[in-house]
């Protein structure tokens, strides 16, 4: 059994975006704050902090989850991936490229969470329907786009990846 007192810290060791990370964390530190702070993964956006908005969605051991609803201390030994794993401006992931082409973002606050969700979902569901993507996006709040271009972009990307 492992134990950490409320005032104490436990050293955790995990992989974040392909890099080994070792850090001492207090039990109450949320994964979202751990990623943005010590790990400097600023692509993890923190919106509502109670699991509703989806902006902090990351991948933990292959599953898309809310980083604000996990404790950092729970991820000892895990592999955590943020939006950084998708691509860079010069070599965009098909999802990112389609988001740009379809104007699927405006302010961009919700985008990293949606990209991680979509990438993970498409691995399991390579040929989604429009309805599937709408349901997927029910787990994300976007206040700019009205969602339609996001659905279009994800469907485009799914088709590109099937080719």
């Amino acid at each position: 059994m492992s134990y950490c007192s409320k005032d104490g810290r436990t050293t955790i060791s995990l992989e974040v975006d392909g890099k080994r990370v070792k850090a001492a964390v207090s039990p109450r530190l949320l994964l979202s704050d751990f990623l943005r702070g010590p790990c400097a993964a600023k692509g993890v956006h923190v919106g509502c902090e109670h699991g509703v908005c989806g902006a902090c969605t990351v991948r933990v051991d292959g599953q898309a989850v809310r980083a604000c609803l996990m404790l950092a201390i729970q991820t000892d030994g895990s592999r955590v991936e943020t939006v950084k794993v998708l691509g860079i401006a010069d070599a965009m992931h098909p999802l990112q490229e389609r988001f740009q082409a379809r104007h699927a973002l405006q302010c961009g606050f919700c985008t990293p969470g949606i990209l991680i969700s979509a990438q993970t979902y498409l691995r399991e569901h390579p040929a989604p329907t429009r309805r599937d993507i709408e349901e997927l996006l029910s787990g994300h709040l976007c206040r700019c786009t009205g969602y339609t271009p996001i659905v279009d972009a994800i469907l485009d990307a799914a088709e590109l990846e099937r080719r």
Binding site: M1, R28, C48, Q63, A64, R66, L69, E135, S138
Partner: protein, 295 residues
């Protein structure tokens, strides 16, 4: 929006976890999927002094068919069930209810047993297990294992028959039986939001078309899943024309709450409509099941 400080334990065996609960009583909270507990902690609605994180218990995520039931272990995620066609086929009501439970992203973490233990009165899984007449397996270090019938498990808003030193170690959902039809209906503001009203329905038909059981439960209309008393409609052949009357009877004795998402009057109207829809689909699916038997 950060949790208040707490002492953190991560036991590696169920015995260790149970010993911690016996030691700390109501000071301790069990952390499984955390999709309800952690938001409550972030908002400081819950301030447990001790967290017992059960996520590293071995063997706790088992999902298996046994004796006409589907047994779901304490750490089985809601999405684990969704990804198991055998399980969904075994319990059609669960297959219909699961897509309404939160969002895909929260079902990846949220556990079936955690949702039962949390006992939100508008939650889908408590409603489904009550309508199916399933059972919850609770364990403590002092008293060992006991099974609690779903009908007795849910007591009020976020209140269950669980004692402070007990953990839900599993749940048993009765599998589909011959001649039964099932339907789940829900209305929420957006897909994945808390249900304003949810309805689960199970109907059993004899080969001659007589309804031997009509079970209908309502979520979001009371402090716990509400099982409508519909025995008066058993022992009869039911036609589509009877369904409005049964739906009205199903909501006759509810006193739904009024809140920002809907007035009591609105909830009652919604419950009536959803009940009729669920009855229609459950009856049709029971008929198909019976036709399958006859052939």
């Amino acid at each position: 929006m950060k949790p208040a400080p707490f002492d953190y334990y991560c036991p590696r065996s169920l015995d260790e976890a149970l010993a911690l609960l016996a030691q700390y009583g109501d000071e301790a909270k069990v952390l499984a999927g955390g999709q309800s507990l952690v938001p409550a902690m972030n908002m400081r609605l819950a301030r447990p002094g001790v967290i017992v994180d059960v996520n590293r218990l071995p063997e706790a995520a088992v999902i298996e068919r046994c004796d006409g039931s589907l047994r779901v272990g304490m750490l089985a995620r809601q999405a684990d069930l969704e990804r198991m066609p055998v399980a969904l086929d075994a319990v059609p009501l669960l297959a219909q209810a699961l897509p309404h439970v939160g969002h895909w992203q929260t079902r990846n973490r949220g556990t079936v047993c955690g949702s039962l233990a949390h006992a939100d009165p508008s939650a889908e899984l408590p409603l489904a297990i009550v309508v199916l007449d399933g059972a919850i397996e609770a364990r403590s270090s002092a008293r060992g294992t006991r099974w609690i019938a779903a009908g007795q498990f849910f007591e009020s808003y976020f209140q269950t028959a669980l004692q402070n030193d007990e953990i839900v170690v599993g749940a048993s959902f009765p599998a589909r039986r011959e001649g039964w039809g099932y339907a789940f209906e829900e209305f929420a503001g957006r897909h994945g939001d808390f249900a304003i009203v949810a309805v689960a329905c199970a109907v059993a038909l004899e080969p001659n078309g007589v309804a031997s059981e009509v079970r209908l439960g309502l979520g979001g209309v009371a402090d716990k899943p509400h099982l409508a008393p519909l025995t008066a409609y058993c022992g009869r052949v039911l036609s589509q024309r009877d369904l409005p009357e049964i739906a009205n009877a199903a909501v006759a004795d509810i006193e739904p709450p009024s809140d920002l998402r809907g007035s009591a009057r609105y909830r009652r109207a919604l419950a009536t409509n959803l009940a009729q829809r669920a009855l229609t689909r459950a009856l049709a699916s029971a008929r198909t099941a019976c036709d399958g038997l006859a052939q």
